[in-house]
Symmetry: C2
Subunit: 190 residues, 2 copies
């Protein structure tokens, strides 16, 4: 039964990996990014240091995986927002609002981690997926007359993503909603 | 004549400092940020290594000064744009266009340096000055009826700065002008 054996090993590896990532997330939340050491992570995750190093070379690599999982979850939320009912314009508004609140909540410790890991290929790929998702929603809304069609959706997507990142600098949820309204006003048909 | 002597020493120090910063800028343009070493900088600037280390502890510190000078020059350009003639709306448009083109040209090597030095207090201070400049221009345009007055200028300034940073991801000057137009459309009175 080699297949079953492989599946057991894979499940074990996934569980250890998840325990390591979760332990790192907890330690970062408690002590900040800079002070977390591999030895602490091993202890918190309940694995030996040798085992830990078989999975990850350093703290940054673990944070990279954690961040990827975060980003994937966020992309999932935005896709779900886009697929909920309503007109193309309403669905675009849902996606933009979702992204603005992600940017709002990302300020702080998450932003520190994002800056640390945002140099890799996976960050570039996630950014590409986000732009595609947004570009599709914009094209659909433009075809429906809810968004200007004098500028390519791919350019409007860059405008939206950057404008909504201002949410990270805002002080309240009400301010984030105002930012979404202003950003949408920039998209109105002439 | 202690005063005259002090002035001569200050002028000499400023000249050496400028030669070091200029040599570093040249080397970065030729070889990229990562490969520039203090020994090369000393040779190019025509100073001894011991002298170089009296002025700067490392390459990053020199790049920090270079970047500060860049940022100060950009702030100066934007202030000048704001002070040129025309209506409050026209002057706001001039400031936003100026900032969009700064963001457009910053992509590439400059962005690498900016990421390296953007952690310091001086970067935060420059950002604050930029937001104040933009907030003042927005408040003036709102008082003139050219910009919406249902949202505080300080929030609109964050929206503008972030939206215009999308210029760094755009491919042409025409696209940058379209981005400025969309951003301004978001500011229109209701």
């Amino acid at each position: 039964m080699p297949k079953l054996w492989d599946e057991t090993v894979d499940a074990h590896r996934a569980a250890v990996r998840e325990a390591i990532v979760r332990a790192t997330a907890e330690l970062v939340a408690e002590h900040g990014v800079a002070s977390v050491k591999m030895a602490q992570i091993a202890e918190r995750a309940g694995v030996g240091r040798a085992t830990l190093y078989k999975y990850f070379p350093d703290v940054e690599a673990i944070l990279g995986v954690w961040h990827e999982e975060h980003v994937a979850a966020h992309l999932g939320e935005l896709r779900a927002a886009r697929e909920r009912g309503g007109s193309a314009g309403a669905r675009l508004r849902a996606v933009l609002t979702g992204y603005a609140f992600i940017a709002f909540h990302r300020a702080g410790a998450d932003a520190e981690i994002a800056a640390l890991v945002h140099r890799g290929d996976s960050a570039t790929e996630a950014r590409g997926q986000l732009l595609t998702l947004l570009g599709d929603a914009l094209a659909e809304a433009a075809a429906d007359g809810a968004v200007r069609d004098d500028i390519a959706p791919v350019e409007l997507a860059q405008y939206c993503l950057h404008a909504l990142e201002a949410a990270g600098a805002l002080a309240s949820q009400a301010a984030v909603r105002r930012l979404v309204a202003v950003t949408l006003d920039g998209l109105r048909p002439a």
